[in-house]
Symmetry: C2
Subunit: 205 residues, 2 copies
Amino acid sequence: MTKKSTQLAYIQAYEYIRDQILNGELERGTKLVEERLAEEMGISRTPVRDSIRKLEQEGLIKDKRVVNPSDSDLRDIFQVRTLLEGFAVRHCAMYMSEGDLDKLQECVKVGRSGTMEQVMTANKEFHEIIIGATNNPVMIDIFERMQSIIYLFRKTVVYHKRPLLIDEHQDIYDAIAAHDADKAEQLMKAHLQLDLEFCLQRMKG
Amino acid sequence: MTKKSTQLAYIQAYEYIRDQILNGELERGTKLVEERLAEEMGISRTPVRDSIRKLEQEGLIKDKRVVNPSDSDLRDIFQVRTLLEGFAVRHCAMYMSEGDLDKLQECVKVGRSGTMEQVMTANKEFHEIIIGATNNPVMIDIFERMQSIIYLFRKTVVYHKRPLLIDEHQDIYDAIAAHDADKAEQLMKAHLQLDLEFCLQRMKG
DNA sequence: TTAAAATATTTTGTATACAAAAACAGAAAT
DNA sequence: ATTTCTGTTTTTGTATACAAAATATTTTAA
């Protein structure tokens, strides 16, 4: 068992608020009031402020409100994301270890057969493994930041599940396994484009 | 005259510390002590802490010390930078406005004829214009963050000036002006590769 | 009734105090 | 001399108080 809980209040606060944002308990656009949150968690304002500042830097909070990305924000994020993942998947096709390949395949498998929660995690992991394989912490960090903003739409994406998503993952995996970098990149780009359109579509509702 | 000075202490502190880091008054690896800085600026610890946290997020401070990037950190940053600027320059070759093209050319011109300070600014601006032309705030933000870390080596780069740099800028400009996206991208990648190697070289000294 | 001004309330920014933790220094033991 | 322990000092994390700024509300005038 990993015991990751820190006793530090500002880390608790950070995790607490972040979770609330990501699972939708704090809706997009909600104003965050330091004192209210502090009281709610039984700590003082100071660590709450720290955590809000941090989340602001990460892009989950903007002007003391839960961020509410516009169409164009989402497009911008996906443009960068496509760039990074395009590079990463190409890297995978050329250098990926057997171990990571197996992990990728497992993600696809679980993506087909698991419970809703498992499917979600596996699909997320699929992309994380690909980015992670670059072994470039700067890249991974940028990716995770964008990921968490995209993740704001998690519920939407879950409830209105995109049907072909898992087939696209399968195809990407196949291209990687076949060491076909060009194809892998092209498939990834198409995949992300569809993801973006799906997000945009759902955002309107 | 733009009057951008904010009265807010934590912004002052942020700018103050950031400047000190970027112009080398605070050397890489220096421990930052909140109270010392607070006293130095005649304010309390609270806004100083805020600004340190912010700079930590931006990557200029790590574990309360001015960041001291390793070889591999620099490589990682340049890998991402190459990706972004490769995309951006390609975009420029296809869509750049006449106005921006002129500005780019001006940068090259000043890069040849200006004072040392002017040359430095112009060369920096050259890249900023290219990234800025994407009109993608997410991308611009990531770029600026990396830029400021690279900028830590400003002095080094100035004193040991890289001779061919400005010719490379000229070539990139020409490719953009000729709408040759492939060539522009390829030249940019080569340019950044040389820049990286120069940085790495100088880092040892 | 609506618009504007004035007032009250909330919320944030900053200073300060204190306790916990970390870093440091010196003494004792190997 | 090197390491380990002890105590001291520094530095950070957190709580709290208060003032400035921003918001909301009420009152007044048209």
